[in-house]
Amino acid sequence: MALLRLAFQALVTRWKRYLFLALGLSLGFALMLLLTGLAGGMRGNVTAAAARHYGGDLFVLGHQKNPYYTPVIRDDAAILAALRAAGIEPSLVARRTNFFENGQVFFNGYSSRQKTVTGIDWEAEAAVFAGLEFASGGFEGMRGSNGILISNVTAKQLGARVGDDVVLEVDTVTGQRNTASMIVKGVFKDASIFGAYTSYVDIKLLTALIGLAPGEYTTFGIYLRDPGAARRESSRLHEALAGSLQIFPPLRSQQELWVRLGEDWSGVKYAVLTLDGYLAEIRDLTSALDAGLVLLLAMMLAVIALGIGNTYRVMVHERVREFGTLRAIGMQRSRVSRLILAEALILGVVCVAAGSLAGLSLLYATGSVRFVQVPGFDIFLQKGRLGWHFSLGVFVVNAVAVLAAVLLGGWIPARRASAVEPARALRRDA
């Protein structure tokens, strides 16, 4: 305790000497907080956009062999029972009809090929679509109508606006061409790989258009209260479903499902897939983001350690007489060393506190800036903003890493200070 008091006094009496180092250290920690917070927000936005695109965090998919395979769920009583048996309490169940290929929207001779046309139960998923940012119109009045929501990218391609009549062309489950006359009810802002070529229509309309019977649909989506538990819940649901339905073995990705669908089987067979299983196409992107972030943080920590090391090296040189005196009045070498490290640690803690305030302010400021004009960036945005995520765990890891870098940087100067010979130090200064 006495050592800490001594270290604190040393810092206070020389505060001007430490000012720039403290500013640098605080800024470094603030930047770390900003980067990890924004990365967390970006990752969260990607996952939220993906969950809205696919309709859940966890999915049950049904397929009928005939002789190819038709995506269909006819009766979900067994799925609901399995959910109860597995003890899963979803925050929302989303029944959707998804059409993943060959969908096209036409207007005035212009066409836009759609990656996905999705039939939505608008009443059930109102909360999900409240998160979608509209350039014009909205999803009100979509239920039971021939309305269609298109992205701003599709709208631009077609030259269409809210209120325009467009033609939606899809294939039926048996491969026939079918069309419907639709009215654009909303144009949403999304140029990401999920939203740019996605259209949303009423589930009953799309179900009929692709030739499924009334009440049938293709995807039973489950929004979990804790999306992070999707993998664990997936195993439990799979186990519960296996008792009542014909089900594929546990699958990790959509690609695995495609392989399984090509195998020899009959009747209707079900698959359980997590949202992560759909995201192979963006996993490389998020992995690159994480790798870049780790590299950047490592570089910042190295700069912090070097900065502390250099400052204390000069400081020890300047304070050699002080350390000589301390040694002369009986302070042990290890205690001199600990004094330097304690000074560095107190400085580190103060800077982490100051950096936290600065970092959170920066996060708040950056999170409220709109990034609508940055091409290809939409996948990371929520309503045009980056958003951020504060995780206590990540904060603690950052703080510990910074303090460790500070101690590492101060370690060599501390050793040098402890090696000072009292007689030589006092003689030199005299």
């Binding site: 060959n102 096209q104 036409f106 005035n108 001779g109 212009y110 066409s111 033609v167 062309e169 294939d171 039926t172 048996t174 491969g175 026939q176 061409r177 079918n178 069309t179 419907a180 030739g211």
Partner: protein, 260 residues
């Protein structure tokens, strides 16, 4: 009329309405469809020709694609080798039974594709190069007579027999020589999707091959001066031949070899 009688009449009327309209169609119509198919199919020999596709998109100009097409209708096979433009040279399609592959010589990869897809972004479909199967794919719902330019035509309104036929409804204008002069393809909701015109044929043996086919897209195009002008593809067929083709022509190995 008593209530009982009225109900009986209503029931009979309802039954008549739900019965296939083919009952009222010309009984010779099916024979006509069979004849149409037989005149442009080659079940007893192979067929090869050069096809030139010129696609005109209003506002965008012309795209030209040239291809050599080799058919063996008896075995439901075809091979299409792209000759032009230069950037597509060596690419090809191979159809064996119900399987259709697209081959790209640059990555040397085959991609499984669908007969329903557009051929090279033109208004033709990959299924347009197979033998004619109107008689087996469709039932005649209605027949009528109509003059189409210089031709007196029988107009057949068709409904697909199976839910797997790409266009669920179609309409054909057949001239007195049993050749299709005009066709219309409709979606399940009876939206007109494309119109085909075949003004001239060329004789080859006892069969016929169109000299030119014009396909007009009814959904893709441009509205110019208030008038809709659909994307249009003109297909010109030259050098038709019924000479026997080598068996190894309809193989992946052959396509890879000629693509080099």
């Amino acid at each position: 009329m008593t209530e009982k009688k009225r109900m009986r009449y209503s029931a009979v009327l309802a039954i008549l309405l739900v019965l296939d309209t083919q009952l009222w169609a010309d009984p010779d119509a099916k024979d006509l469809l069979r004849k149409v198919d037989s005149l442009v199919s080659f079940p007893d020999s192979d067929f090869s020709a050069e096809y030139t596709f010129v696609t005109n998109r209003p506002d965008e100009g012309f795209d030209t694609t040239q291809a050599a097409i080799f058919r063996r209708d008896a075995e439901n096979k075809y091979l299409i080798l792209l000759l032009a433009p230069k950037v597509d040279r060596g690419k090809g399609y191979l159809k064996i039974g119900d399987n259709l592959w697209f081959y790209d010589p640059v990555p040397r990869k085959y991609v499984f594709t669908s007969s329903r897809d557009r051929f090279r972004n033109s208004n033709a479909r990959n299924s347009d190069f197979t033998r004619s199967t109107f008689a087996s794919d469709y039932s005649v719902q209605q027949t009528s007579k109509e003059r189409l330019g210089k031709y007196d035509c029988t107009v057949l309104s068709l409904k697909a027999n199976s839910s797997e036929v790409t266009f669920p409804f179609a309409k054909l204008w057949i001239s007195e020589d049993s050749l299709v002069r005009k066709g219309e393809d409709y979606s399940l909701s009876r939206q007109l999707l494309r119109t085909l015109l075949i003004p001239t044929y060329q004789g080859i043996g006892s069969r016929f091959v169109p000299q030119t086919i014009v396909i007009m897209d009814q959904l893709k195009g441009r509205v110019i001066d208030g008038k809709y002008i659909g994307d249009r593809t003109q297909i010109t067929i030259s050098k038709p031949s019924l000479a026997k083709l080598p068996d190894n022509l309809f193989t992946k190995a052959y396509l890879e070899k000629v693509s080099r």
